[in-house]
Every structure is written in C-alpha cells, then in structure tokens.
Amino acid sequence: MAAEAKRLKRFSIAQRLWHLALVVIFFLMGITGLAWMYIETGWGRMLAAPFGGWQGALEWHRIAGLVLLALFALHILYSLMQIEWRHPFRWLAGPDSLMMQFGDVKGFFQHLGWIFGLREHPRYDRWSWYEKFDYWAVWWGFMIVGVTGLVLYNPVLSSDYMPGWLINVALWIHRIEALMAMVHIFTVHFYLEHFRPKALPFNAAMFDGTIPMSEAEEAHGAWVDRLEMEGKLEAHLVPEPPVALRIAYFIGGYALIALGIFLLVFAFANVAAVSLF
C-alpha cells in the first residue's frame, strides 16, 4: 500500500497536451461560432468584438477548425503508435486500450446498480466506460462537425462537388452537433469531472497528470491491482506537483468553467432573438 501522499501518474505529457489544445480550440471555436450565430444580438456582437467583428470571428473559426482537424489527424497517428503492433488485436481488447469492450457494458450496468444501491461500485481498470465514451464522443463529434465544417468553409467551392442545397443541411447538422457538444461539456462533463461530491473542488488529473493514490484505488482499483501484479506500480508513483502549478490549474480551470457557463446561459437567454432559418 502506497503512502497517502503518493500520487499515481495517470496521463502522459502528450495526453495532457492533446487535452489542453482541445480545451483552447474548443473554447475559441465555441466563442467565435456563437458570435456568428448570435451576431444579431448585442451579446453576439460582444463576443465577436475581440476578433474584430463577425468577419474576424469567422476567420478565426475557420483557421481554428483547420488546426483542430490537423491535430485530429496527428492524434490518429499518435493513437496508432500507441498500439502494440506485435499483437494488435490482443492489445486493442486489453485493459490499456480505449476500445469499447464487453466489460464496459458490464461496468455500465454495475455502475447503474451502484447508483440505485443494488450493487457494489465497479472496480474499473485504467479506463471506465464513461471515460471511453467521453473519448469516442470527441471522435464522433469531430466527424460530424469536421465534415460539415469543411462543406461550409467555402460554399461556392463545395457546391461544385455537391448540390448547393446541401449547404442548408450541413449548416443545421453543424449547429446542432456543436451546440450539443457545448451543452454536454459545460454541464455533464464539468459536473462529473469537477463538481461531483468526490471530485470537488477541482479535479486537476487531466492537467497535472496525476491522481491521489486513494482516489486511484476507489475509482480505478483494478488498474492499481494490475500495476502492482505486473510490478509497475512503483514506476507510476509520482510526487505532488508544485503548489504554484496547482494554483494555476485551479484558477485557469475555474476561469474556463465560468466561461463555459457564461456562454451557455447567454446562448439560452438570447435564443429567441436570433433568426435561425
């Protein structure tokens, strides 16, 4: 049993940087996208102002979209590099893989049973079903928003390859997927990661890359056991991150949470004032 002060390394520097890039670009695209969608309202114009009006906001939106797609392509390469190519299928079906497996279905039902007080809390391995869902939701979101975003990037050009009326369709798909992503991230994701009783006041795992050993044993017990059995636990133990960094994560994190909630509240408050079609 590791000492209480010890922490378990959960995310590599690469994984944390992917997440950080995603956070920054997601907010940038959310702000510029909402600015354009709400440009008829004072709130929309306020959001667009830092970018120099709607033209600037749209330009940032387009460039950020391209950067995000490029990062996504890089991420696919990175993911392929994570696979143990000596026996890829065994690795993909293993506990370090983010592939959905039958065990995740069991994990989900056990989790549900625990919520209703019928069963014990599941002892997850490295990734729980909801963490895998969060990961793949980004993929599916990217597919939908990315493809429609590329269609909308230059409508005159894209209408050379498809009927122009598909732009009407693409815009609606783009909007609804993007709005759903924002609502999900700013409510469910923020709540589950930061405001759940066990996560309060702020869960910096994705930022400093570590979790307290006690939390690891509760939330990822099977993983801790596996590391111990494989003799890899010691290598995964890391010291507390510096206090200055933790304060920075805390303040930065809360600023972004506040920004997300601000976007959500004003988007709903102003929805009647915009022309959507």
């Binding site: 498809m162 369709v169 009783p197």
Partner: protein, 217 residues
C-alpha cells in the same frame, strides 16, 4: 430520277415527321437537360426540378432535395404583383411575405429584398428575363456577393423553411430528416447523461455523508 424522288420524299418525310414527333412526344428528362432554352414546361406552372444538368453520380440526391411543390402563375409574369389589390411599392415586402423576414441573408447581412428580386416592377422569379430566373440566377444574383457562384450553388435555399416543421418533410426532405436526426441524437445523449449525472451525484453525496465508499474498501 427515281433516286431523286426518293431522296426528296425522304427529306419531306423527315421535315414533317420530326417536328410532329417532337410535339407529341412527352417531354423527357434527356431532352430538357442542358438545352439552355425555355420550353413549355419551364414557363408554365407545374411541378418540376429547377436545375436539370448533366447527369452525375449525385443524381440520386435530388430525390431528397428541395422540391418546388406549386409555382404561382405570377412567378412567370413581368410584374409579379400585377393585380394584387393592396400592393404598393411603398409598402414593406415583409408585411405580406411575413415568412421571409428572418432569413440569414436579411438578419445577418442586412441584404434587402430588392438586391436580389430587383426594383419595381418586380418580375416573377421564373419570368424569361428575370435576373432571378434559375438559368441565370447564379450569375446575376448570387455572384454579386458569392464570387464564382454556379447553378449548383444557387440551389441553396435562401428562404429556408423551418427544418423541424412537418411541411418540410415534403418540401425539403433532406433538411427535415437530417435536422430531426441531429435533434434526436443530441436530445438522446443529454436525456441519458443529465439524469445519470444527477443520480450519480446524489449517490456519491450519500456515500460521502455516510463517510465510506460503498464497495467496502
């Protein structure tokens, strides 16, 4: 002599038979395609597709694209408002065309009706010489702002219907089904996760209050 007679007879037969055949044969898609000229089908009210172009791999898509259900007779006239009793060029267009006041072109770009439909007398959009006529709309109207606009580009529906309205299922099936699919997907995801998160939080709260984690560690 006989050969000459046969040739003349053949030419005469061709001259008479060909146009007769053309007049009686029902219009097919192939003889409309790419003609660039107006035929009866183009100038009379009825149901037909706006853009008939070279066949492409994407032709199957047109079956779910926007459909012009009924075209008003006035859409083919020099002055679309001819005979409209309370019409006056001084009135706001949207006083009567109420459903056209919230289009993105108007609400975001402040495009005025007359920038596309031109000045009074406003010709019907299918009038032979109208700038809005589909044969030249892309070049005369869309391309004013959207440089390089093509007929395909011009099939963008400016006066977009409410995508969730039941009428849109008939008038623009692709928009209707795609939007409903996305609404159900988004609603489904949130309907699943929001209650789950709330219950999960409550359960954890109970655990915390009881001071132990329920799997007995």
């Amino acid at each position: 002599m006989l050969i000459r007679l046969i040739v003349r007879a053949a030419i005469l037969a061709l001259l008479f038979v060909q146009p007769l055949a053309a007049q009686t044969a029902p219009p097919t898609e192939s003889n409309l395609k790419g003609s660039g000229y107006f035929r009866d089908q183009d100038t009379l009210p009825g149901s037909y597709r706006l853009y008939l172009q070279q066949p492409s791999k994407l032709d199957w898509l047109s079956s779910v694209g926007p459909v012009q259900e009924k075209v008003k007779k006035s859409s083919f006239t020099t002055d679309a408002h001819e005979g409209v009793a309370n019409y006056s060029p001084r009135r706001q267009c949207t006083e009567c065309h109420t459903n056209h006041s919230r289009d993105l072109h108007v609400s975001r770009m402040e495009v005025r009706c007359t920038q596309c439909h031109r000045d009074t007398p406003i010709a019907g959009i299918y009038h032979y010489y109208s700038a809005m006529n589909p044969i030249r709309r892309h070049a005369y109207v869309c391309a004013k702002c959207h440089e390089g606009a093509t007929p395909s580009f011009a099939s963008y529906v400016v006066h977009e219907p409410n995508p969730l309205a039941m009428e849109t299922r008939e008038s623009f099936p692709a928009l209707f089904y795609a939007t409903w699919f996305m609404v159900i997907l988004a609603g489904g995801v949130l309907a699943f996760f929001v209650p789950l998160a709330v219950l999960w939080g409550l359960r954890e709260f109970i655990s915390v209050v009881r001071g132990r984690f329920s799997h007995g560690s």
